[in-house]
Symmetry: C2
Subunit: 690 residues, 2 copies
């Protein structure tokens, strides 16, 4: 019989089992710390420096959340449709909906500038750990984060100066275990060359998202420009028309956004019990609103499409993460990992005097976090719930205030090395959708009141005796911040911002002090001490675990390796690694989201039925890896990463080699689609270096 | 330092502390098992049989989810506005929106029939435990629930026959520890006498819901009719115009819907990790859809208002429950409670041979439940997501099928004793709101596909190659089930149902076998064995715990006792027990949901500022208790229960005496409002037995 005591004993027994070494294909490796021995042992392959350099210099960080690769000497970049969907949406009009129709530039001259998209390519990595750590050496816990941020801003400014062709970021790795300066070539002129119909890219829609078998043509081509001309590249990647075979070794090179694999048990419990349930509830509600908004008419549907895609995607991601954290086996592994570190700490007085007990520190901080995270989220992190008008208003207000300060005292995102991103967003000629704005502003106001309570002082400040609908209506009908020229004048003449009577600026101004206060308080009580404690945990890991480990994903360039391989699903049984073109026509029902576009419906006879369509591999990726090339040993593109399976979502917290899979478009359908469905012969030739 | 081992040890230590006896005011007691000693000790009061009988015979079960009390010899019933809101909504038209304007019948002749509301008053309780248990004595686990249900149906049929003036329900108490036959007088003719404007009843709206201080006039009056005349009552309750004072002993008598205080740790974890996060996500999405639907126009807003209220209320309830379950202190208490029982079981071979290990059994069942609960929920429990057309279609299909079977083989809700409720719902002349129907049907289809996956056979059956929007559109525009005459003819001639080409019936018929299968499978694998194991846990509690315990709430009549008392809130500090009329005008901002209605705004000078408005007491209530009278020692009404505070939501799983509070409308404002704001002199006189 299992009494409770027996259960607890069983749990402890579980903890005593050794922590497993990183599983075969686990890891998002930085290019300067690839585990070559392990790779050689598993796959009999060791990339040389030339191989790594060539891949690195062709790997593109696209916008803030995607990847891509340079595939021609003229700066053509292969990525996903969903990575350029915002651009396609912005270039669309009610009369010419490029999301529905797709886009093919007949020639380079017809390529169209993506208003808010930029691209960066990593050129160098420099270790600056000692300098950053030194800057905060004697600071109080609550000051530490600020001191470091100031030093980081200085390092970045020194490296980049005022250049707009470079991007310099000091990246925090291993949760503070290391700081590295990443210097990128930056491209602010990115133009759309080709995008298929969204329905071809996203066949199966939300139901198929994060699922497999899959039949999506989720690709697009953009071109990088420098001084108005296509940027030149000496060593672009080449596409392999044959694709890959089951069992083949494959790599991805891209910019996975964020993982939390080094979180402690207390932090994971906070994710499981507070953060994720809240985030899912928040997103589910606005999802419902957007879905309903789309029923108002075609134009409303067009306006909300991109926001809806992003939110449905996020709902799946967070539900997948929550699903992993409530699996006893998954949490048990995390528990065991932490126990090994805590036991090592308990057994070694030297380690204790060096680190104290960072796990207990984190437990204390997380307990405090439960009381303060929601005001911080709603007033600062989620400000405006995506409203472009409110976001712009805040950027103008803060831009004016922050540019008047020395770099070391500015909010991080307004430091010299980062302000260009803010400026680009403000000046971009992107449309503002009235329906969506109204919906987002009202939603944000109502949820903020719901979470903080009607009697919270911030709520009285925000509402001022009006309803959320009235406030949203006034902003949407009265704000002129939808006009790029007005934004430019306010950005360039900060003094005008203070006296502006624009309703979006008035609201953002009214709440700005409160928002900053929530941020400052949260940074001092949570972020800063958490970062100090987490850094100790990270350092302890280096001391105790004698295996090579990779840093959590941080939107920086990583190489992963793996094999083309299906999996055995606990619910659906054996899943094969490939889908083939014929399956697309079998799956099509005619009804959205399983409908074919006219082009695809008409091309059935032209497409070889046995052509590889999508495939799964064991590479370890996460959101942000979208658009990464899938490469073979020769560094040729055999596929285009666009998704992970449902089990990959737990990858935020840990990698399950049995279930976690990357999903790619095969190079076979990629080329055949361009040639036979879209008649994009010139682009296909360029891709194949013909 | 707290290592993991130390942590686990601390958890075990926690478990060793004794289980506390039920706290002072905890308990929803049946009238035949009131803990009179404890009550006498705490408050120096013991109610006699006459007192109890009088309260019981004046306590009304209203519809399926509310309570009320008979307050005049002519069958006038006092309850909450939100308990009759569906009726008010059904009596409203675009031209005459009673939700907005309120309703006062000038005389009895103008009282208006509530189409779908009925009322029941408990007359007798008979123990039938032995008979029900005997029926399933030798049955296999998977058959047990079915055998019991058949026996229960027979007991109910014997007691009630075909009478429509009675209602006979065998109630499961103590999770199967006892079965009792409840016989009620039933009233199917319930008429609306008075309802204030919804905004007066629900001042503060969703933000204030489950919060306090509070300023709601959440009351309404209906009248019970028998044979077309007001029903007569010899001993109605009387209202006390003076209200109550801080510290006073007060009772509630009503029908709390459902609590889960006897759930095991495994079941609570299932609630915390699977069920509640899912339910919140599901409801949050439809909440967003309804909120946005209401922006389409006044008529759409009117149509969705009641559904939206219900859903926002549920979101708060489930979030409150989840919030309690993620509190380490709350879960620790549950863990300790269970440990005491498991230890007693482990220590006593006699108990082990009598019960086996029901806790381990439940763990196994819950593990299986994780795989099967979602199809069951979506195909059976949540069928149609509230759509009246689909619900009616299913009732017609199942009504036709089930009435052809012997009572013992029918689905529970179609047995002779329960079918009257189905029939009443089908025949009720309630309007069908097209916008709401379309929204609910589409939502249900999409969520079912999302949760079950596009490749699930049920999904192919449901969708048949169409989109959710198309299917919803066809049903809403094509179904005639919005016409009560059509529903009546189909109900009365079951043969017509099989050949009906009504699109709602076609869809419900197409999926009915699959839904029934999901239900049968779930009952056999989960419900039935869970009930057997839970019954053992319940019996073990009787054996081990030498304190009197009350059964989980089951929508049956319960008496609670407590005191008028504020609380010290962990976030907001000290909360006083009363609010006063003056506070309402202070709190009003003019903007929804903090706006006064014209009647209230104009009556400021007429209302005594120091009049009691709302109050909190320590009574132990839960959803379903709404509308219960708050009674003093003399059995006089001093208030009207309409809500609990936010901490009362954890009451689903356990009672926290420090925080859990009941919220009522004081009898002071109740009477003064009727007289001075609504000019409802005759009704106020009737209430006061003048």
């Amino acid at each position: 019989m299992r009494t409770t005591q027996a259960l607890a004993a069983a749990m402890l027994a579980l903890c005593l089992s050794a922590i497993p070494a990183a599983s075969a294909d686990e890891g998002m490796w930085t290019f300067d710390s690839l585990p070559v021995d392990r790779l050689q042992q598993a796959y009999g392959f060791t990339p040389d420096k030339a191989w790594l350099d060539r891949i690195q210099k062709a790997s593109v960080k696209l916008g803030e959340g995607c990847s891509g690769s340079v595939v021609s000497g003229d700066g053509l970049v292969l990525t996903n449709h969903h990575c350029v969907a915002n651009c396609v949406q912005e270039l669309s009009t009610p009369a010419n909906n490029l999301m529905a129709a797709g886009f093919l530039a007949p020639g380079q001259r017809e390529e169209r500038i993506c208003p808010a998209l930029d691209a960066s390519i990593l050129q160098s990595i420099t270790d600056v750990t000692a300098r950053v750590q030194l800057a905060a050496k004697d600071a109080a816990l609550s000051q530490m984060a600020g001191k470091r941020a100031a030093e980081i801003a200085m390092i970045e400014a020194e490296a980049c100066g005022v250049s707009r062709d470079k991007r310099c970021n000091v990246v925090t790795l291993y949760r503070g275990g290391a700081y590295k300066l990443y210097v990128y070539d930056r491209y602010t002129d990115v133009r759309l060359s080709f995008a298929p119909e969204r329905q071809a890219a996203f066949f199966g829609g939300d139901p198929d998202n994060f699922n497999f078998p899959r039949y999506a043509y989720d690709m697009a081509l953009v071109r990088l420009y420098k001084d108005g001309k296509p940027a030149k590249f000496a060593h672009p990647l080449q596409i392999s028309p044959g694709g890959a075979k089951e069992g083949d070794l494959v790599f991805t090179s891209g910019h996975p956004g964020s993982t939390d694999r080094l979180l402690t048990v207390a932090q994971l419990q906070f994710q499981r019990d507070q953060f994720l349930p809240w985030r899912i509830e928040y997103l589910a509600q606005i999802r419902g609103s957007l879905l309903n908004e789309a029923t108002k008419g075609e134009e409303e549907a067009r306006q909300v499409a991109e926001a809806l895609f992003g939110i449905e995607n996020s709902v799946k991601v967070f539900k997948g993460q929550h699903g992993a954290l409530v699996l006893p086996s998954f949490f048990g592994l995390k528990f065991a990992e932490e126990k090994r570190l805590r036991d090592a700490l308990a057994a070694d007085p030297k380690l204790r005097s060096k680190y104290g007990d960072p796990f207990a520190d984190i437990e204390t901080i997380v307990a405090a976090q439960k009381a303060s995270w929601l005001p911080y989220q709603m007033l600062e992190q989620r400000f405006g719930a995506g409203s472009v008008l409110l976001t712009n208003a805040r950027t103008l207000i803060r831009g004016a205030a922050e540019r008047g300060k020395p770099d070391s005292q500015r909010l991080t995102e307004y430091t010299a090395s980062r302000i260009a991103l803010r400026e680009r967003a403000i000046l971009a000629d992107a449309p503002v959708h009235a329906s969506l704005e109204r919906l987002e502003i009202e939603f944000w106001l109502l949820k903020t009141r719901e979470y903080l309570g009607a009697d919270h002082p911030a709520i009285k400040t925000l509402f001022g005796g009006k309803t959320a609908a009235e406030i949203a209506g006034e902003i949407v009908s009265g704000s002129r911040l939808d006009d790029p020229a007005i934004r430019r004048s306010l950005w360039e003449k900060p003094a005008l911002v203070a006296s502006s009577t624009d309703p979006a600026i008035i609201l953002a101004r009214r709440i700005d002090a409160v928002s900053r206060e929530a941020r400052t308080a949260y940074d001092a009580a949570i972020t800063s001490p958490l970062s100090a404690a987490t850094e100790k945990v990270a350092a302890l890991r280096f001391d105790v675990l004698d295996l090579s480990i990779y840093p959590d994903a941080t939107s920086t360039l990583r190489l992963t390796y793996g094999a083309v391989k299906g999996w055995t699903d606990p619910v659906f049984g054996e899943v094969k690694p490939f889908t083939y073109a014929a399956g697309l026509w079998d799956r099509a029902t005619g009804a959205y989201p399983f409908n074919l576009t006219a082009k695809w419906a008409g091309a059935k006879s032209a497409i070889t039925p046995g052509l590889q369509m999508n495939l799964v591999t064991t590479n370890d990726i996460i959101g942000g890896s979208s658009g990464s090339p899938l490469l073979d040993r020769q560094g040729r593109i055999v596929g285009l990463v666009f998704d992970g399976n449902i089990h990959s979502l737990g990858g935020a917290f840990g990698f399950d080699p049995a279930l976690n899979r990357t999903v790619s478009v095969s190079s076979q359908i990629l080329l055949e689609g361009l040639r036979k469905i879209y008649g994009a012969t010139a682009l296909a030739d360029e891709l194949q270096h013909k």
